[in-house]
């Protein structure tokens, strides 16, 4: 009987060496996987590359076609034109519904031509005037807008 080999120290050491041996390949595998932490290649991602490129091309083309600075400069001009072309209410006596309050008011005061209010008349006088003169022409202009 060889007494030196069967002692608590050897037993303790052997226990841990055995554990190392059992897990040897697990440790090597873990070491290898540290260098392979990236997700596996995905065909979805590969196909997405072309899609993102297309998206980028389109975005660039759009950006080129619609330069922001020019748009900024043009806004006041367009705004003024829009404000000027705002249609004004037009009096069409033949379109007044009979028996309606408007028709009764007209009957009561037929002298009233274009819609006016007594108080504001003096101030916006020049405005309605070109408006009434321009009415026949204006009736054409709004029509395309309205249609």
């Amino acid at each position: 009987m060889d007494p030196t080999r069967d002692n608590p120290i050897i037993r303790f050491n052997t226990f841990w060496w055995a554990l190392w041996a059992f897990f040897a390949f697990a440790i090597v595998l873990a070491a290898i996987m540290i260098f392979n932490r990236a997700a596996p290649t995905n065909l979805e991602d590969a196909v997405a590359v072309a899609r993102y490129q297309t998206q980028q091309t389109v975005a660039e083309a759009q950006a080129k076609a619609l330069p922001a600075a020019d748009i900024e400069a043009a806004i006041p001009e367009v705004a003024a034109k829009l404000a000027a072309s705002k249609p004004v209410a037009v009096e069409r006596p033949d379109q007044v519904v009979p028996e309606s309050p408007t028709s009764k008011a007209l009957i009561a005061e037929p002298a009233l031509g274009p819609t006016t209010e007594p108080a504001p008349v003096p101030v916006p006088a020049p405005a309605p005037a070109p408006a009434t003169e321009g009415t026949p022409a204006e009736t054409d202009a709004p029509a395309p807008v309205n249609s």
Partner: protein, 492 residues
């Protein structure tokens, strides 16, 4: 082992008795729970097998759907019975050969219960539809760390016993058992980590699974069987192993060749082409270590003119060796790439090959070891030799039927599947009779093992009226063993 010759036969017997006493509870626990899981597995196998030729049997209920019952059968066979009977035999053999008493019986028993719990929960998981879908690894993902840790808690003590053994010589059986002890954790950690924890390519995952499956067979079950055989053959016949060199060659050829086998299951899959064909070549080459070991052991057993001892361990060892020869032959015949590989790749023969390895080779050797160990552990001889006979003969018939049904039938089935001019109904019609043979085979094996369970239970329970008979027989045996048992004769 020269130092042991100074021990007298009675002190030798005392050492052995001390070892057996220290291991009684863990080993009997593993053998009994292993036997119980074997019963469960065989019942599940019969259910699954019936469903192949009579699909309306127990139809419509998810719990017993074929796709769940079959994996439950395989996993209970491997992890419930295979590993537990392996544990029982391994820890006893390692203790006896290192001549060390077991000091960690409590830990081993606790770990054994944890193992059983893991297998139970895993099996219930499969039957409830939570299986992983990976062959031979169908337990839900929580199971494998539990099983691995309890495995280590069971076998590490045998490792320590080997290290602190007296003397420098080692037995051949110890090499195989140490190998099996180391190989399983390496296989299990690799396969389970790469399949459950690290995302990878799906086809490579299937390849690693096939490699793991083959590794379990040839790097755990077959080495455990060979360890038991290399212990029992010299022990029972009293003759030494004839060639130590051949034994070393056999062991190292297994160690070098077996890790390459497995991926032939995926021949033709979109994997690097060398993987499946190296696997096929390695599986065929495994005939070499199997034949070497069989040769060595058969020469041990038949080397002299004396009659063989007529006992259960001897019969089962011989049956295991014959199964090993058949396994070696089929390993070659089923892995010829030009002709047979593509026919049997997806046929019933894969199952037949697995069952031949797990029940034929490993199972018979485990039964041999069990019939040898239990009387020494319980101090009581096997009471009913007729039950042992029934167990033996019906097991042999059952495995024979499996060889015919699954392996030959599988070859026929595979050939039918390759006949591309025929519709699929032709293939199904071809395999149906062989599935029926398979059911018959499992029924025979169940019948065989009923006697085994009964006998084991009787050994455990030891009814009082048997004690007297046991005592008489035991006294005879001790008298005999002091004359014939001699550890010197087991070393080359």
């Amino acid at each position: 082992m020269s130092s042991a010759s100074s021990a007298t036969p009675t002190s030798d017997a005392a050492i052995r008795a001390g070892i057996d006493r220290s291991l009684r509870h863990p080993v009997m626990f593993f053998l009994t729970s292993g036997a119980a899981w074997l019963a469960v597995s065989i019942l599940l196998a019969i259910t699954a097998s019936i469903k192949v030729h009579c699909p309306t049997f127990l139809d419509g209920c998810g719990f017993v759907d074929f796709g769940r019952v079959f994996p439950a059968h395989i996993n209970t066979l491997i992890y419930g019975w295979g590993f537990q009977s392996g544990f029982g035999v391994l820890i006893w053999l390692m203790a006896r050969m290192s001549r060390q008493e077991c000091r960690s019986a409590g830990t081993i028993l606790a770990a054994g219960h944890v193992w059983n719990l893991g297998v139970l929960l895993g099996t219930l998981g499969i039957l409830c539809g939570e299986g992983s879908g990976m062959p031979w690894m169908e337990f839900p993902r929580f199971a494998w760390p539990v099983l691995l840790l309890s495995y280590i808690a069971i076998v590490v003590w045998s490792f320590i016993q080997f290290r602190v053994r007296a003397g420098e010589r080692t037995f051949v059986a110890q090499w195989y058992l140490l190998g099996a002890m180391m190989w399983f954790p390496w296989l299990s950690i690799t396969a389970n980590t790469l399949l459950f924890c690290v995302p990878g390519h799906p086809v490579m995952a299937a390849g690693i699974n096939a490699w793991f499956k083959s590794g379990l067979v040839f790097l755990f079950f077959v080495p455990s069987a060979l360890g038991a055989a290399y212990y029992l053959a010299p022990k029972l016949t009293g003759r030494p192993i004839p060639s130590h060199t051949l034994a070393r060659l056999g062991f190292w050829s297994l160690a070098v060749v077996a890790p390459w086998a497995g991926m032939q299951k995926l021949a033709g899959a979109p994997l690097p082409v060398f993987l499946p064909y190296v696997g096929a070549a390695a599986t065929a080459l495994l005939a070499v270590p199997l034949l070497i070991a069989a040769l060595n052991l058969l020469r041990t057993i038949f080397s002299s003119e004396e009659k063989l001892p007529k006992c259960a361990p001897m019969s089962f060892t011989l049956a295991g060796l014959v199964s090993m020869l058949v396994l070696a032959a089929t390993a070659v015949l089923f892995n010829l790439p030009g002709s047979s590989l593509w026919k049997v790749q997806f046929s019933l023969s894969g199952y037949g090959f697995d069952m031949l390895a797990v029940y034929g080779v490993f199972g018979f050797m485990m039964f041999a070891a069990v019939y040898f160990m239990v009387p020494r552990l319980t101090n009581c001889e096997w009471r009913y030799p007729r039950l042992i006979n029934m167990h033996f003969f019906f097991s042999v018939y059952g495995i024979g039927a499996i060889v015919v049904g699954a392996m030959i039938g599988g070859y026929v089935h595979g050939s039918a599947a390759e006949a591309w001019l025929q519709p699929w109904e032709y293939v199904v019609d071809t395999l149906r009779p062989f599935a029926a043979v398979s059911t018959f085979a499992w029924c025979v094996i169940l019948f065989a093992n009923v006697f085994f369970f009964l006998h084991l239970a009787l050994m455990w329970l030891r009814p009082d009226r048997l004690l007297a008979a046991c005592k008489a027989k035991t006294e005879d045996r001790v008298a005999q063993s002091q004359q014939t048992e001699d550890p010197q004769s087991t070393t080359p």
